[in-house]
């Protein structure tokens, strides 16, 4: 009971596997398929959704940063020669730009994570608090990133 246009429609909502599993091959849409919300490409960006996406993106970036930390430790464990090469990469201008970006990603993910931990205690769910905590995360992340690099460059 399926024709190519049904199949295409099923795939278009991105849940073809689930429909196949639940209904076998006999699933016939009885109504027009509507897009599943949130339909991200026509969504006006909001602080809430942008921070949610940012939490993921920064998480992946920090995963890469953790790999960098491992590589740096291996270089330090391999002796002065490899360590010097690693330091030259860290203190090159692409290395420093990466580290500045990683610092911001760290604070955004860190403070966003603390925000999530507060939500886990069933607090701060009012729309007003969600926006207040969201902007607090963004502004504090910018300030702490700047402060970190002022300290780092003054100390080094």
């Amino acid at each position: 009971m399926s024709n190519p246009s049904d199949k295409r429609r099923r795939e278009s909502i991105g849940a073809a596997d689930d429909l196949e599993r639940w209904f076998g091959g006999d699933f016939v849409p009885t109504e027009t398929f509507r897009p599943i919300a949130p339909n991200i490409q026509v969504y006006r960006p909001q602080l809430t959704s942008v921070l949610s996406i940012a939490n993921r993106v920064t998480g992946v970036a920090l995963g890469l940063g953790a790999l960098g930390l491992v590589a740096w430790l291996i270089a330090a464990a391999s002796g002065p020669h490899l360590f010097l090469i690693a330091q030259n990469i860290v203190f090159s201008w692409p290395g420093e730009i990466f580290l500045i970006g990683l610092t911001f990603a760290f604070f955004l993910h860190f403070l966003g994570g603390v925000r999530h931990l507060v939500w886990d205690t069933v607090r701060g769910f009012e729309l007003r608090s969600i926006y207040a905590s969201g902007w607090a995360v963004v502004i504090t992340s910018i300030i702490l990133t700047a402060a970190t690099w002022v300290f780092a460059l003054r100390g080094g």
Binding site: G14, A15, D17, D18, R56, G59, V60, L62, G63, A66, L67, L69, V70, L73, I74, A76, A77, P80, F83, L84, V90, F91, T103, F106, F110, G113, V114, H116, L117, D120, V122, T148, F151, A152, G155, G156
Partner: protein, 127 residues
């Protein structure tokens, strides 16, 4: 929140209909809370020591407190990364390859954590 409709035994076991979601969720929180002090400590340590020469950096890495905290951080961080990446895979990949991807990223995270711990131990015992 809403009324809890579960039977007392189901509530005591703490498992939802997915039978495993609470463990993933809880492990993500546990590793996150562990990472709060550990990452702040690492950030401060790197600000102080990263620009130093080889002897200074290795001396810092070889100290007992640093080595303990670095190893704890590597365990917590890569556990947290594995849990987070698994959710991303589960959200966007609904095919069979999902299981292979989760398997590979978990192996990768454990391999990375083990490599970091090994490097740290080598610094400790060589210094």
């Amino acid at each position: 929140m809403g009324r809890d409709t579960r039977l007392p035994r189901a509530r005591a076991r703490g498992l939802g209909s997915a039978h495993g979601g609470t463990h993933h969720w809880w492990a993500e929180r546990v590793s996150a809370i562990a990472l709060v002090p550990l990452t702040i400590w690492l950030l401060v340590g790197l600000i102080i020591h990263l620009s130093g020469d080889y002897n200074e950096v290795v001396g810092w890495l070889a100290s007992p407190v640093t080595s303990l905290l670095i190893i704890l951080l590597l365990i917590a961080a890569f556990h947290h990364v594995a849990l987070g990446l698994q959710v991303i895979v589960e959200d966007y990949n609904h095919g069979e390859s999902k299981y292979l991807m989760i398997l590979l990223l978990r192996f990768g995270c454990y391999a990375a954590a083990a490599s970091g711990i090994l490097a740290e131990l080598k610094i400790v015992f060589a210094t």
